[in-house]
Symmetry: C2
Subunit: 108 residues, 2 copies
DNA sequence: TATATAGTTTGATGATGGTCAAACTATAAG
DNA sequence: CTTATAGTTTGACCATCATCAAACTATATA
């Protein structure tokens, strides 16, 4: 570990979230996750019917596995999603708290 | 002009807006504009009491004029703000439509 | 016209970012 | 134990970005 976790200013946290959504592929991944969570609820996604595993993104967006892995990690590090393992699959769901923060930011 | 305006997919428009907000300095500029518009109304900003001119950003963020100019252009091109000239000053205000689009995107 | 003010354009430079192929790890199933 | 599946890590490559200094344009004012 090269560097301790330094506390981020709240503006920088926002900027990091926007940065995570600024790549079209990453944005689409997030949109897919959002759709899924809206359809099935944000509560405990681990037990939700299939979908939102990494492989789905590969097929839907036609990008390689390393790229998906990289993008999902960025979304998670930005606080936009959470990832849970189940067997050898990883399932993603949106972080409602960040969703609320961002919605509030743009409220008129 | 190297290239005609190609219509952007709505996902790409969103990604472009997020990209514009992904730079901390640009985000702060946008926040200053938002604050100002929230305080004075989004309607016709040209006649609003001073503030939100480019020079203010230079001082508040401690960055050079070319950088401000560049950042403001990016925010405008992303559809986040509008710029109006008055004499030799330029005043910025937020685009309420984009604000609404983005708020809606994050609604739970 | 001359001078000051406010912002723009250009060009350069160092920093980040997106993607992939290859090699690797971990879990599951036979 | 072997094989298949699902994702990760590393390393590389090219593209895009943030910023600044220098030179420039446009507007206002004396």
């Amino acid at each position: 570990m090269a560097q301790k976790d330094i506390p981020e200013s709240s503006a920088d946290q926002l900027a990091a979230a926007f940065r995570a959504l600024s790549n079209p592929n990453r944005l689409r991944i997030y949109q897919v996750i959002l759709e899924h969570c809206r359809a099935h609820g944000h509560a405990d996604l681990a037990k939700v019917p299939a979908g939102c595993a990494f492989g789905d993104f590969m097929q839907r967006l036609n990008i390689g596995a390393p790229t998906v892995s990289h993008h999902v990690r960025e979304l998670a590090e930005a606080g936009l999603i959470r990832v849970e393992r189940e067997g050898r699959r990883r399932y993603c769901h949106a972080q409602p708290q960040m969703l609320a923060t961002l919605a509030h930011f743009f409220e008129l």
